[in-house]
Structure formats: structure tokens, C-alpha cells
Amino acid sequence: MLEAQGLGAVRGDRRLFAGLNFSLDGGELLYVHGPNGSGKTTLLRMLCGLVMPAEGEVRWRGETIRRLGDEYRRELLYLGHTVALKDDLTGLENLRIASALQGAAVHEAQAGEALAALGLTGFEDLPVRVLSQGQKRRVALARLQLSLQLGRACLWILDEPFTALDKAAIGVLEAVLAAHLEGGGIVVLTTHQEVALTAGVTKEIAMGG
């Protein structure tokens, strides 16, 4: 469903990668790895359509994502290096707004459930500002849990989702990913940590020298 054809990226004087090809079907996970600065983040942002490829193109269900626009974005869920939360809103509010903008308004109960699944019971009503680093990331990751509950977004693109998580949270995230893959979803992720990514078909891309 997701295809990259001859993707290339140039940053400043540096050619990060070129001629990158792959294709992913439902239930497959793409694990992008490589040393720091090898272009993983750049590749992921390109797959989302946030960065224009210097060469090549990204296709979704056979159509370039540039043409698809909103149709593609409706099926996409991207979590980047930053947590993308409003500091002044509570976890619950953040989650509901993110979901509504994604085109799927949810009830407070549903959002609360997703937060609870990530071990944030008792913290739902605190403004995100006062949460610890790891708790913030958990709130961001609750979007995955929610999307799973709703069965919406089908392509997850995750940039180092395991950062700042403790062991318990890593376990939860692994389970969520596995469930998504089982349901026929696609995951593209990067991480430097060693985690068990066993469910579904796992493809790999090694970036950089």
C-alpha cells in the first residue's frame, strides 16, 4: 500500500540517501535504523509529505501522496521528535482535540480509556506542562491507543517512540504496535533502543554508512 520509488534527499551539501525503494503491505512493519544523522527523521517526514523529496516519489495505494492530499492524511498518524501537545491543556483535552482534528471526535470516556491504557490514571486532568518527560510522551502515544480503539488510521509513522519511556510503558507500546499490525495496519518506525518487534512481518532499512 505504501511505496517509495527512488526517493532521494539532499540537505545542505550532504546527500543523505538516494534511490531508496521499498513497498509495504498491510500487517507489515518497517524498521528504519542507522547511526545519528543518517537521515531517518528526514525519510519519515518525507513519507508524511512534510518534506518534498529531492527526487523520487511516495505512493499510497498506487497514487502519489501529493495528489491524494487529505485522503492520505486521513489514514496517516505521525508522531515526531516533539510531543505535539499543548502545555496548557490537560492530557484529556489534548487527546480529544488531536482526535477531532484527525476527523474523529471522541468522547471523554474513550479518551480517558486510552490514557488509562498508557498508565496515566490520575494524571488526566493535570495540564501537560507539569508532567514529566516520560509522562508527556505517554500522552502523545495515547493517540495510537485511541486510533486502535477506533480502527481509524492505518499507517503509523513513529520517530523514536520509545524515547524517555520506562519499561512498563515500553511494554504497553509494544503491545499496541502488535495489535495494530495484527489488524492489518502498517507501521514505520525508528529507534536506537533494542526492543522486541516480533509481531507481523518486519522489514528493515539500514540508513547511512
Binding site: 521528535h81 499543548k86 482534528l101
Partner: protein
């Protein structure tokens, strides 16, 4: 689609309520700038009356311009803007929602405050009325035009000041027609012409600014 617009407006209003000081400070800035003038210029009432519409308008423009930094700045910083770009909604619509909320929070209070300040400068009732109408037409245009500048300077260091450089030239027609309306009224020429030009600017801005700002956001976040 309208749901997304409403969600955006509500979100920004809730955020503004959480940070009431933001709302108040724009307003106080406006008041203070207007009040600084008599201090800088001296207290002769006749002259103050003449310069009053100009001063109020310039202060309104400066105050809303200052608030521009907050329009996209925070959303850019915490990554939520990136998520908006990835939302399956027309970006221009979300931008429109943000601008609307921004105007309600920063523009409208100025409009409501203006007559009080005008009174202090000795403007009469008719002039005050024209002042309020001109601001009511002008401030939305200012917010809309400002959104384009704010979007263009996102992530550019020193953007806060650069944005003034970019949008002030575009504000000049608004200023000329806005302050001109009050002066024309005072001179007995009638404010109608100025006000309808002002309205035309606002409508044009409403049609094109969200699109331009959305395009600018896509460029800035590349």
C-alpha cells in the same frame, strides 16, 4: 468541515482562557501606547483631539501586531502545527479558525476599549461612532493579513520583529482608510467612502489571506 473549524476556534479560546493574562496584556498594551502619547507630545487639548484618531489607530495596529507572534508561534514550538498540516482537513479552514479565535481574543477587546480612550482625547459622539465602526472593519483585516506574515516568519529566528517589517507595509492602507474615516467625518466630508473601502479590504483579506497563510505554513514547515 465546520466541525473542524469549530474545534479549532474552541481550542484556541480555551487556551486563551487558561492564559487570561495574554488577552489582557494586548489590551493594556493598547491602552498604554495611547496614553504614552499625551506624555510625549504635551497636553494641549486641541492638538490632542486632532491627532486622536491617528494615535488610536496606530496603537491598535501595533497591539494586534504584537499579538501576532502568538498566532502560530506556540503551535509551531510544541509540534501541534505539524499535526495540523497532517490533519485531513483543508489547512486554510484551520487557519481561518485560528485567526477567528485570535481576533475574538485580541481584536475585539480593542474595538470595545477604543471609545473610552477616544473620550479622553475629547472626541465627540459621532467621531467615536465612526472610530468604532472603522476598527470593527479594520481589525479583522489586520488579523487576517497578519496571519500571512506570521506564517511566513515561523521558525525564522528574530521572526517576531521580522513579521512587523513584513506586515506593516500591508497595514498601511487599512490605517489610512481607518484613521481617514474619522478625520473625514470630523471635516464634515462623511466617512462613507472610507468605510466602504475598509470593508472591501476586509472582505478581500477574508477570501485570500487564509489561503496564502496556509501556503506559507506548508513552506515554513518543510
Amino acid at each position: 468541515m465546520l466541525a473542524a473549524l469549530r474545534c479549532m476556534v474552541m481550542r484556541d479560546l480555551v487556551l486563551a482562557v487558561r492564559r487570561v493574562s495574554d488577552v489582557l496584556t494586548t489590551l493594556f498594551f493598547f491602552v498604554i501606547v495611547v496614553s504614552l502619547f499625551p506624555l510625549g507630545v504635551g497636553p494641549e487639548m486641541e492638538m490632542l483631539r486632532t491627532i486622536a484618531p491617528g494615535v488610536v489607530w496606530v496603537a491598535a495596529i501595533l497591539a494586534s501586531m504584537l499579538a501576532l507572534g502568538r498566532l502560530f508561534g506556540h503551535d509551531y514550538g510544541d509540534g501541534t502545527l505539524e499535526q495540523m498540516l497532517l490533519a485531513p482537513q483543508p489547512l486554510a479552514l484551520l487557519v481561518l479558525g485560528k485567526v477567528l479565535a485570535h481576533w475574538l481574543v485580541t481584536g475585539l477587546p480593542l474595538v470595545l476599549m477604543a471609545p473610552l480612550l477616544g473620550l479622553q482625547f475629547g472626541l465627540d459622539t459621532v467621531a467615536l461612532e465612526v472610530l468604532v465602526i472603522s476598527l470593527l472593519l479594520g481589525t479583522p483585516a489586520i488579523s487576517l493579513i497578519g496571519a500571512v506574515g506570521a506564517a511566513l516568519t515561523l521558525g525564522v529566528r528574530g521572526g517576531g520583529v521580522l513579521v512587523s517589517l513584513l506586515v506593516l507595509p500591508l497595514y498601511i492602507p487599512v490605517l489610512i482608510f481607518g484613521a481617514g474615516a474619522v478625520e473625514a467625518e470630523a471635516a464634515g466630508l462623511g466617512a462613507g467612502g472610507h468605510l466602504s473601502l475598509l470593508g472591501a479590504i476586509a472582505v478581500l483579506a477574508l477570501c485570500f489571506a487564509p489561503l496564502a497563510a496556509a501556503a506559507a505554513l506548508r513552506i515554513s514547515l518543510e
